[in-house]
Amino acid sequence: MPEILFREALKRGLQEALENDPRVFMMGEDIGEYGGAYAVTDGFLEKFGPERIKDTPISEQAFVGAGIGAAAAGLRPIVEFMSISFSLVAFDQIVNMAANLRYMSGGQINVPMVIRAPTGAGVQLGATHSQSFETWLAEVPGIKVVCPSNPYDALGLIRSAIKDDNPVIVAEPALLYGDKGNVPDEYYEIELGKADVSRSGTDITLVSYGYGMRPVNSAADSLEERGHSVETIDLRSLNPLDIETVLTSIQKTNRVVLVDSARRTGGVMAEVAAELQQRASEWLDGPIMRVGSIDVPWPYNRGLEREVLTDAGDVLAAAAEGYGM
């Protein structure tokens, strides 16, 4: 299988949609002439023209709202935030408008829109550019939220997101754009709302998504070196949340560490933990362990930021504390 970069996988999915469906168009800050802050849309303006690759003013509320309106009228807009932290400026449109329109119209209006946004810390951008608000968005009924952790999933998820008739947030971990991974030439999609058992094992289950899969994979390697059989689960989708896959795994391993690279408090793993407490406590040999980044504003300094961000050591410490592994 050919290896491609995470950003190239996204680019392939976007390009296919633009080529195959005239209703698809893109909007965002500097996605056209500049080529996108993370170069995902590089060359698109030349290929598809200014009507379909629309550079917007720095007006997140207006262009997200315009995406919603265009979707309500039957187009399939793909809107890009330069950072998921900027989604805060447009939260009214995402939550009050995109997520609620269908319900409050009694099912009359669909919003088939994709919102793409780089997420997460790790590249020393400081407090306002390093947050992971997919965790907030995942709480809102009426929108789907996905977050890929590798190029294969990035392509499969973006394809499904664009085809979905609901608003879908695709949170793209900023640290992963340059990661390489195997992506087949044959067409495939990944169903939204399905977790992936990315490694099969019997002694402990490590659950995460997005950038969090990097420390999870690293910790899994270490645990296996010590003779433990590790199962890893990549949630991939935060709404809908695939709890069943986690439950099934825990019935086998009886041990679990939940890993969030977002801030620990109020993150997605808090929700997973609550579900597991209610539905899986009889299967567990110890406490539901939860790991997350430290609850402070993101610091700029490299050493400080590294310390705040969840890493493999945090995962291993949790496995040791909870299960003596």
Partner: protein, 350 residues
């Protein structure tokens, strides 16, 4: 247009002669154009008035709940504006949306049923007063975050432009909206993309209990100093249905002609409180009375009769017919079933 005291309401309203871009010449001919169906305009204004009165009564009875914002006093604005549109044009409204919805021809029974929260309502009882929708009529809501509807309208207009139609989107918003950042964002976006969007400002001079002169640098008179980002604007007397229609026709013609977004400010007034919970402590009844003297539901038919366009009898016949329509809508709503609890999970996602 610099006057800005409450006691000056009358002179303000008299000064709202239609004019355009600082041009002092009157834009609109006040002679009654023969092509307009005056009786239809009256009938719709009267329907909205009676519908709103019925809403108020049923709110008092507890059959309508939540927030209820009535359109009483502003009928000429909504009816005149919507009468200038085609079926394939979109309309986007704010939380005071009943008048626009009815003017668009939404089913009276189903709108009333929605206010009653019944399964037969336009949103199956899930929307309520502030969230009326009828996609078949291209009525795209009923939006209750002030100014939040503006970018939605820009997106609908963007789709119309993208699909290369000559249809357009009319977006209503109130004076209170203009202090939201997204108002400015959307005007700028519409201007740079030349969207087929008609910004329709209903300036009733109060954002809930805040007189616009207290909360807006520039005071009550938006026109001509309002920031429209180069979008051509005109001001019209929102109590004069024919003037509103004519202004709308002009703006609509320009948009269909490819001239990009247009902006209309209609000066109007709600005769009632912001919502049914409003005791109106913030304004004097003198001001309200002055505006009530210009009530379009009274002055328009009187003018038609005086000019010999219609007779007393025809007006009376229309009133009887509309009164029955409204009474039937209340019956329909009251007799409609509550939504089944199984409907809770429907319509969240496709």
């Amino acid at each position: 247009m610099a006057s800005s005291t409450k006691s000056n309401a009358k002179s303000r309203s008299q000064s709202s002669k239609p004019s355009r871009n600082g041009d002092s010449a009157p834009l609109l001919n006040k002679d009654l154009p023969s092509t307009v169906d005056h009786l239809d305009l009256f009938k719709m204004m009267y329907l909205i008035r009676q519908f709103e009165i019925a809403c108020g009564e049923n709110y008092s009875k507890g059959l309508i709940r939540g927030f209820l914002h009535l359109y009483i006093g502003q009928e000429a604005t909504g009816v005149g504006a919507v009468s200038g549109l085609r079926e394939d044009d979109y309309i986007v409204s704010h939380y005071r949306d009943h008048g626009h919805a009815l003017a668009r021809g939404m089913d009276v029974n189903r709108v009333m049923a929605e206010l009653f929260g019944r399964a037969t309502g336009t949103s199956k009882g899930k929307g309520g007063s502030m969230h009326l929708f009828d996609v078949a009529k291209r009525f795209m809501g009923g939006h209750a975050i002030v100014a939040g509807q503006l970018p939605l309208a820009a997106g609908l207009a963007l789709a119309q432009q993208y699909q290369k139609t000559d249809a357009l989107t009319m977006c209503f918003f109130g004076d209170g909206s203009t202090n939201q950042g997204v108002y400015h964002e959307t005007l700028n976006l519409a201007a740079i993309w030349k969207l087929p969007l008609l910004f329709f400002l209903e300036n009733n001079m109060y954002g809930m209990g805040s007189s616009i002169e207290r909360v807006r640098a520039g005071g009550i008179d938006f026109y001509p100093g309002i920031a429209t980002y180069g979008i051509p604007a005109l001001e019209v007397d929102g109590m004069d249905v024919l003037a509103v229609k004519e202004a709308t026709d002009v703006a609509v013609g320009k948009i269909r002609n490819g001239e990009g977004p247009q902006f209309i400010e209609a000066k109007t007034f709600r005769f009632v409180g912001h919502s049914l919970a409003d005791g109106q402590k913030y304004r004097g009844q003198e001001e309200v009375k002055e505006w009530e003297g210009r009530d379009p539901v009274l002055t328009f038919p009187a003018k038609l009769i005086e000019m010999g366009v219609v007779t007393d009898k025809e007006i009376a016949r229309i009133k009887t017919e509309v009164d029955e329509t409204v009474a039937k809508s209340v019956d329909f709503a009251e007799q409609s079933p509550e939504p089944d609890l199984s409907q809770i999970y429907n319509d969240v996602m496709v």
